[in-house]
Amino acid sequence: MKKWIAGAAMALTAMSGAAFADGHGDYPERPLLLMVSYGAGGATDFQARIVTMTAGNEDALGMPIAILNRPGAGGRVGWNWFATEAEADGYTLGAYNIPHFIAQSIEGGVEYSTESFEPIANWGADPAVFVVPTDSGFQSMADVVAYATENPGGLTFSGAGLFVGHHIAALQLEQAAGVELAYIPNNAGGAGAMRAVIAGEVLGGVNNLSDAFRAQEAGNVRILGVFDLERNDFLPDVPTMIEQGYDIDNASVNFRGVMVPAGTPQEVIDHLAAIVPTMFENGRVASRMEAGGSPMHIMTRDEVLEMWAARQETLEALLADLDN
């Protein structure tokens, strides 16, 4: 019996060895995992489930992708795990959030940086927007900045926390308008930050475009500006910050996409980089994403690599100012 088991084990090793030897021709031969570093039901998790639902199709990967949630500490727990413990065999994928993980790696105390991961493709981009309660006197960003100039440090506005897109947007606004603001990070994330605005606990807030769009539709807030290079299809009437005279680029836009740990075989990366963007383009995915109010923005591996590098540079400069 023992011999038999040993023999079987040897045969199995030989087989898998052979599979690796001939250049991952059969990859993937079993279902894949996609690690999401936020809890089930959050925006990242929700979108990850939608964009991966067609993975099992023959024209896609031919194998389903299962979602694995590893939430905690604003995503740090999941990304730490992904950088240090996830196997780089192509069967463990991860979802990234830019600028979150880059900002956290610059801040320090985590075990990852852009070097630890290899991007595959980007599926979504959710810009930050500036919102005020419907009954607020602020009609444009100029009103907000005027108030902040009169009351230095007195303009309270909420956001989802420190070292996330909202915080980056807040820092950019302070810098571009040359004013001192009181950014109040919320412990309950974007939803908590939005609640603070609607309840009038703060004078304004930075929030996700998708959530702010819903809140505006519900008549609870007014959106004054978009922290992006161009106007958004969901909000064609809302001007960007640049249009309103503030030199703010798209560094705070929350990009979401798929990555693998560094050290994954190049053939696997190439295979995924070719297939995954087509998976995102599937009509069923697009209609679900649109129904959920989640803006899509598909980017290939090369475009994402470029975006990561650009972001790294901007954020280093921005956060260096913060330390002084």
Partner: protein, 509 residues
Amino acid sequence: MDFIFYMGDVFTPVNFALLLLGTVGGLILGATPGLSPTMAVALLIPFTFQLEPQQGLILLGAAYTSTVAGGAVSAILLKIPGAPANIATTLDGHTMALNGQGAKALQVSFLASAVGGIFGVLLLIFLTPVLAQWALAFGPSHLFWLAILGVTVIGTLDSSSVVKGLLSGCIGLWLATIGFDDIMGAQRFIFHSSLSGGINVIPALIGLFAIPQVITMLTKGRKDSGAEVITVQRHPIGAAFREVFSRLRALSIGTAVGSIIGLIPGVGGQIAGLVAYDQSKKFSSESEKFGKGHPEGVIAAESANNAMVGPSLVPLLTLSIPGSPTAAVLLGGLLIHGIFPGPDLFMNYPAVAWTFIDSMLIGQILMCIFGLFIAGLAAKVARVPHAVMAAIVLALAVFGSYSVQNSMGDVYVMATLGLAMYFLERFGFSAAPLVLGLILGPIAEANFIQGSMIANATVGLGPYFFTGALNWLLIAIVVVSIGYSVWMELRQRRYTTKDDAVAKEESLT
């Protein structure tokens, strides 16, 4: 009366089948330690991709309602709360089970759940616009005072000693600081990578309650191999009805407290059960019976945690802001079908919104019927020999802690806390205040920091935390609560004789 108009939709064959499935499935998921309502609903979301929006929401609503009630099963029979909402249920429920009244405890708990739950959903149906304003009234300063009110409960939760209760509450508050802090992202007390995400409440809950149980069972098994088997008294359902409705005070306190606390975003059902338990203990004429297997304890706790279900959806359905983690998951379930909650939800999608609410109402009743049906059977769990039971509970504890975040680190946390709790229990400390500290710590801290940031930018600390009717109301309740505890402690001390003290010491060793 739109909700009556759409009631028929609940009873179409497919919808009703889904409602049954959600209810029974929810009860089973809820009774499994570690599978909190949030997890259960999140697990079901992918299944709703294939369903119509109306059907998907019926499934999710039914699952939400019945997982909350299902958590009572393991709380009563195994002393492992299925979710934080069920902590208070263990206090009297498990003692009742040990006294052979497991069937009665379960029946009472399901009936109380149904009464609380139906009241909560009715509030959701009739008072949503009014309640939405109330949900927004609680800002950082009010949530801070509310958390402090919770802290005052800590001392009295433990029936043996106020000092030991406060001490274990402090341990809980300290444990809550571990990990990256919520607002500034500072690292605190992270000595091992398992702790970098902080201590998650569910694994802590399982460890603190289940592991001491397992160790005790194992040690008993060694002492005498034919470990004593608890007889399970049969308990007619009619008697359970009379029991619940004769204890109207506990029932109404539980329902009221649950409804109010459920409405406040960010506090949710985690503390509703404990606060209701504490309040009904303070108001009861038989407060000395609490903790020793008093049905009122079960009634208050369970009616409160189910009453919170309906109101907890008010901020979501009217303002599109999820007030609790479970509501956030439900929001995902709505969005995936292109339904945006908000004030016009009931006008744009009446068939979806009202059917969802109706199904929660019917779900409460179905949940109660199934619960009563399984109560007698489930109570037989107490007859399982200790050695077998210990193995089953241990396996469930490991499975439950792992499944929360798919993390072995949580299992280590669970085991470590459990082992420590076993020794703490030997010295008369109990787990409930500790968990309450763990839950309240982050609420108090985050709201204090947020409040002080706003205050420093605007009116200043003093005026921010000490002006406004709601602040003063909460401060007044805090003062009354502390005063009452001190008075009770002094009165009890006067009547405690040396013999009582000796007997108490002996019972612990």
